[in-house]
């Protein structure tokens, strides 16, 4: 299951469950964040966390075949396709913006997956599906985090508060980090799905905390405080869970103590 190896990843939760969680959770979060008053924009962040988990699982499945290059490349590709699709969907979709963006992302993903397999000849059997999933997840992450900052997914609100101010670059990197980092950090023969996905939740929560700070510009300190607080709670739970899973999977966890002082070394 290491990078450069071949064969599918062993899994606990089936892919369909994670896809459903990502798509439905992501879209519900984005729509709730848009409908509810500004103080509830954290729903967008929760949607982004669902999508991050899905993206990390898709990266995990496709990268287990060995991409021939680093795992980060696919995370950057996800967010590259995601940005293009998200801005397009919001610009033409209006109320259905996130859904249009998602569909466009899936189409771009399938095309790039097919190009990678047919023209470049990567020969990864799940490439088309995985690319579609990764592009869709990247789009939902961008939309979810944009909703947290702008308080709505209206095209003009997102353009003025997220894109023109440059915070889209921040979303780009922290969203991409959430998708690419969990498998990149956990890969190896002892990689376990639940540990990787909990790490994705933790990364998504960090993204929510960071965009929570930014949201104080548009939504006031109260809403920003709620965003940050919810992010910190999710982060703490996910971090402790991740630490517990590390202790479960490790052969032994021992304290090494402090570095020896100069006298003790002699």
């Amino acid at each position: 299951m290491s990078v450069g190896g071949s064969g599918g990843a062993a899994s606990g939760y089936p892919a369909q469950t994670i896809i459903a969680l990502g798509v439905i959770g992501g879209l519900i979060g984005i729509y709730l964040g848009d409908f509810m008053p500004a103080a509830y924009s954290f729903f967008g962040g929760i949607g982004a966390i669902c999508a991050t988990v899905w993206g990390a699982d898709a990266v995990r499945r496709v990268a287990s075949y060995g991409l021939g290059t680093g795992v980060p490349s696919i995370g950057m590709l996800a967010l590259g396709m995601g940005t293009v699709a998200a801005l397009f969907g919001l610009s033409v979709g209006g109320f259905a913006g996130p859904i249009v963006a998602f569909i466009v992302a899936v189409i771009i993903g399938i095309v790039i997956g097919a190009l990678s397999n047919r023209v470049i000849g990567m020969g990864i059997p799940i490439m088309e599906q995985a690319m579609a999933e990764i592009a869709g997840a990247g789009t939902l992450v961008i939309l979810g985090l944009s909703v947290v900052i702008a308080g709505s997914f209206d095209y003009s609100a997102v353009v003025h508060n997220v894109v023109a101010t440059g915070y889209i670059a921040l979303i780009f990197i922290i969203g991409g980090m959430g998708i690419l980092h969990p498998f990149n950090a956990s890969l190896g023969p002892d990689e376990r799905q639940d540990r990787t996905l909990v790490l994705a939740v933790e990364k998504g929560a960090i993204a929510l905390i960071i965009v929570g700070f930014v949201s104080s510009l548009n939504e006031g300190l109260m809403a920003a405080g709620v965003n940050i607080l919810i992010g910190i709670i999710i982060w703490y739970v996910a971090f402790m869970k991740h630490y517990a899973l590390i202790k479960r999977d490790a052969y032994q966890v021992v304290g090494t103590g402090l570095l020896p002082s100069a006298e003790e070394l002699q």
Binding site: P72, I112, V159
Partner: protein, 249 residues
């Protein structure tokens, strides 16, 4: 939407060409990946995307800077190319110092017997069990060429997107504030998105590492360029429509 696309077909072709140039340029950049980080392969020790994006985005910024003072396309593209070339040259020269003075290995390529540019012997300097190390002259020159292509491509994409916006009456000029120009923000984000897509496709084509234009893998570039043409065309349509919608808000 359709008439908007038809009216901007020239800019869409330029965006597609820009994407293909980026894709071709990545094949020139000496990417060593993780093995190079341990001085076990020729090239800079990081991935294609990081290296190409680092150089290409610098090119984008320098092209955008030039657009503040002139509308002249060749000047803008030259500025983008030079920005990217400076960025990658600095990266490669500092990496070479680390390899030579820190790791203590001789820059050498395992893919060719003599450096095609300097004609120096390579094979006797390659440590056993490695695929070369450091950045030999030919890889350095190749990397600078690749960055120039990437900078031109990125600049072309950005310039075309800005032109699509200005054609419907949006402004991209110098504003009193540093932030707040919607067109510049959206065009820059699309340019970055298109850039990253076109940096990853060739990265899969070369399998993560390449030494430069003397590497046998370099000959595979048509596959990646064809893929990038199709992917960029798709992105160009989407980007042009999204920018045209900016006029309505």
């Amino acid at each position: 939407m359709i008439e908007g696309i038809m009216a901007n077909i020239l800019w869409m072709i330029l965006i597609t060409l820009g994407g293909a140039l980026i894709s071709w340029g990545v094949h020139f950049v000496p990417v060593g990946g993780a093995p190079a980080a341990m001085a076990q392969a020729t090239g800079v020790g990081t991935g294609t995307v990081q290296l190409a994006a680092g150089a290409g985005l610098t090119g984008l910024v320098s092209a955008g800077f030039m657009m503040n003072v002139t509308e002249n396309l060749p000047l803008i593209l030259a500025s983008g190319a030079v920005g990217a070339m400076i960025m990658i040259s600095v990266t490669m020269i500092v990496a070479t110092w680390v390899y030579v003075y820190g790791v203590g290995c001789v820059p050498s390529s395992a893919k060719v017997k003599t450096d095609p540019i300097t004609k120096y012997r390579q094979d006797i300097y390659v440590s056993q069990g490695t695929e070369g190390h450091g950045i030999p002259t030919v890889s350095f020159v190749s990397g600078v060429i690749g960055a120039a292509l990437g900078g031109i491509g990125g600049g072309l994409v950005y310039y075309s997107l800005i032109k699509v916006g200005t054609s419907i009456g949006l402004t991209a000029g110098v504003t009193p504030d540093v932030v707040g120009n919607s067109l510049v923000g959206v065009a820059a984000m699309f340019a970055i998105g298109i850039f990253l897509v076109n940096a990853v496709i060739p990265s899969y084509n070369i399998g993560g590492t390449i030494e430069g234009f003397h590497d046998p893998k370099w000959k595979k570039w048509p596959k990646a360029v064809i893929s990038s043409l199709i992917a960029s065309l798709l992105c160009a349509i989407v980007a042009v429509v999204a920018i045209l919608q900016l006029g309505g808000i």
